[in-house]
């Protein structure tokens, strides 16, 4: 236990915050889908996976493509796939033909997850690939802040630069989404549908379109987060499965359907996992239980406050 020092705890916290923002990025799209369609997509991670691969192959083909553009293209690709899927399979749900849409959607997206994942295995093969960090940092040394191409030291605490970039993307995307949802007409239309479908159609909003749009935007965000994170993690066709389960946890922690909630939920999860794994007495099991710590907090939150931190009260 003598390894537990102040510096150690600060490092754990810092790790937790960074990975937490990244987790938040993963969950952003899922929370949008949940808020409008009222469903959890089990294929969320697969769109995340596809986003990553799109960037990988784009950068393979056009080596000097601006990475941020690659991220946008990845978003466009997953948007299209999401829209097609929604039109083919989720539309009857919007029409109110489905008795229990939540469960219907869980199963349907589970089938989609299977489908996408194994098709990708067939196409790209099962071996891990990865994209190197998008940008090299300039070299500086100010004592408290040192930077090198791949790593930044903040008060002697090493932080990977690709993670920093990904968290930057996370914050920007979340801000954009919040702005979009509250300030644009389309965003308000989405909100309206999420709160009362019938009323929305009574004012002239086409709820089916909004459903399609929301699902597409959700998968787009999933794709973009994958695109940003393919520099952080090694990529395989099944990389989406843990991303999905993390996202489930996060949207519940943050309050289903809340955008800032997604980031906050991600932070909580990241910090809990970090401290759990850092402080669990038996080192050989510390990491084995890392997911369990998150799940435990998740279960507790569900039991104590099912609406999450940012959940709607009414």
């Amino acid at each position: 236990m003598d390894y537990i020092t102040g510096q150690f705890l600060v490092n754990l916290l810092m790790n937790g915050i960074l990975i937490g923002l990244i987790y938040g990025l993963m969950a952003l799209g899922l929370t949008l889908i949940f808020s409008v369609l009222g469903i959890v997509s089990f294929a969320h991670g697969e769109f995340y996976m596809i986003g990553g691969y799109v960037v990988y192959y784009l950068l393979q083909a056009f080596g000097n493509l601006e990475p941020m553009i690659a991220i946008l293209i990845a978003g466009a690709v997953t948007f299209v796939i999401g829209v097609i899927f929604e039109l083919l399979f989720l539309q009857p749900m919007g029409k109110g033909d489905i008795e229990r849409p939540g469960e219907y959607a869980i199963l349907l997206t589970f089938g989609l997850a299977f489908f996408l994942q194994h098709v990708m295995i067939g196409i790209v093969g099962p071996f891990p690939t990865k994209v190197d960090r998008f940008y090299d940092f300039a070299e500086i040394d100010w004592g408290w802040l040192r930077m090198k191409a791949a790593t930044v030291w903040f008060f002697d605490m090493p932080i990977s630069s690709s993670r920093l970039i990904a968290t930057g993307v996370a914050v920007v995307l979340t801000a954009l989404m919040i702005w979009f949802m509250s300030k644009t007409w389309t965003g308000r239309g989405l909100q309206a549908v999420s709160q009362d479908r019938q009323a929305a159609s009574v004012v002239g909003i086409n709820p089916s379109h909004m459903n399609t749009l929301a699902f597409g935007l959700g998968t787009m965000l999933a794709g973009m987060s994958g695109a940003a994170l393919v520099t952080v993690f090694a990529w395989v066709p099944w990389v989406g499965m843990p991303a999905s389960s993390k996202s489930f946890i996060i949207i519940v922690l943050g309050g289903m359907g809340s955008m800032p909630g997604a980031l906050l939920g991600g932070l909580v999860l990241g910090i809990v996992e970090s401290f759990g794994a850092g402080l669990y007495p038996d080192p050989s099991k510390a990491l084995a239980y890392k997911d369990a710590f998150g799940l435990l907090v998740f279960a507790l939150v569900l039991l104590v406050k099912p609406t999450g931190f940012f959940g709607r009260k009414l």
């Binding site: 007409w185 308000r188 239309g189 909100q191 309206a192 709160q195 009362d196 019938q198 009323a199 929305a200 159609s201 009574v202 004012v203 002239g204 909003i205 086409n206 709820p207 709607r312 009414l314």
Partner: protein, 233 residues
């Protein structure tokens, strides 16, 4: 204005709830649709408003045939619907709720602003509460928001389903006053489904009584109206 010809609608393929109903909602009048429970009044409204697809028959709006038109497009034709239970966006502010009523002309900022002002003039309470979440309002105020939202689009016809069920007397009086006001001052055509037969008769100009899927009785509301037929069940 709104005309229904020999309409057949149902929930199962081989059973029509509405079996050959004919109905005309005359311009600038309140047309009441009455009848026992389960005769198909709500079903009729739902089919006019595109939630249910007619099996046969026609629905005309002016000289345009509208059966089969999706709900969100009807609004462009000037038909609006106030369902029985309030359908507000509970977590949005009052102002956002009313503004969303202007969805179909959302690009036209000036018109939006003007219509919003009109709503506030009609219901000054709402102006005070405009930043409050709609779900926190009392039942009557929620009705006001809903009506304001419906009026944003300048509809020609409004369909209203049991607007006062469960409303306190004072409030339901307000609602009926509002309906007559809309007819008299804004020139709207109103189709009213109600079980509050007495109150409905007081405000309406023409009444239809339905019997299990059929027309049973209809006639203008005046001193000569056959009350027996209206209360028939």
């Amino acid at each position: 204005m709104l005309e229904i010809k020999d309409l057949y609608v149902g929930y199962y393929s081989d059973l029509n709830i509405i079996q050959g109903v004919d109905l005309i909602a005359r311009e600038q009048q309140i047309t009441a649709i009455l009848g026992a429970n389960g005769v198909g009044k709500s079903t009729l409204l739902k089919s006019i408003y595109g939630f249910l697809k007619p099996n046969s028959g026609e629905i005309w709006m002016g000289d345009r045939r509208v059966d089969g038109t999706p709900t969100h497009e009807l609004i462009n034709l000037g038909i609006s619907y106030i369902p029985q239970h309030t359908g507000l966006f509970k977590w949005m502010s009052v102002e956002e709720n009313i503004e969303l009523g202007g969805w179909t002309f959302r690009k036209d900022k000036d018109r939006l602003k003007q219509k919003l002002e009109e709503s506030y003039e009609r219901f000054p309470v709402l102006k005070e509460k405009r930043k409050q979440a709609a779900g926190e309002l009392s039942g009557g105020q929620q009705r006001m928001v809903e009506i304001s939202r419906t009026l944003m689009t300048d509809p020609k016809v409004i369909l209203v389903d049991e607007p006062t069920a469960g409303l306190a007397k004072l409030l339901s009086q307000d609602v009926y006053d509002m309906l007559t006001d809309l007819r008299d001052n804004d020139g709207l055509t109103i189709v009213l489904v109600d079980q509050e037969i007495r109150s409905a008769l007081k405000v309406s100009d023409y009444v239809y009584v339905l019997d299990l899927g059929h027309n049973h009785f209809d006639g203008p509301v005046d001193e000569n109206i056959d009350l027996e037929e209206v209360f028939w069940a």
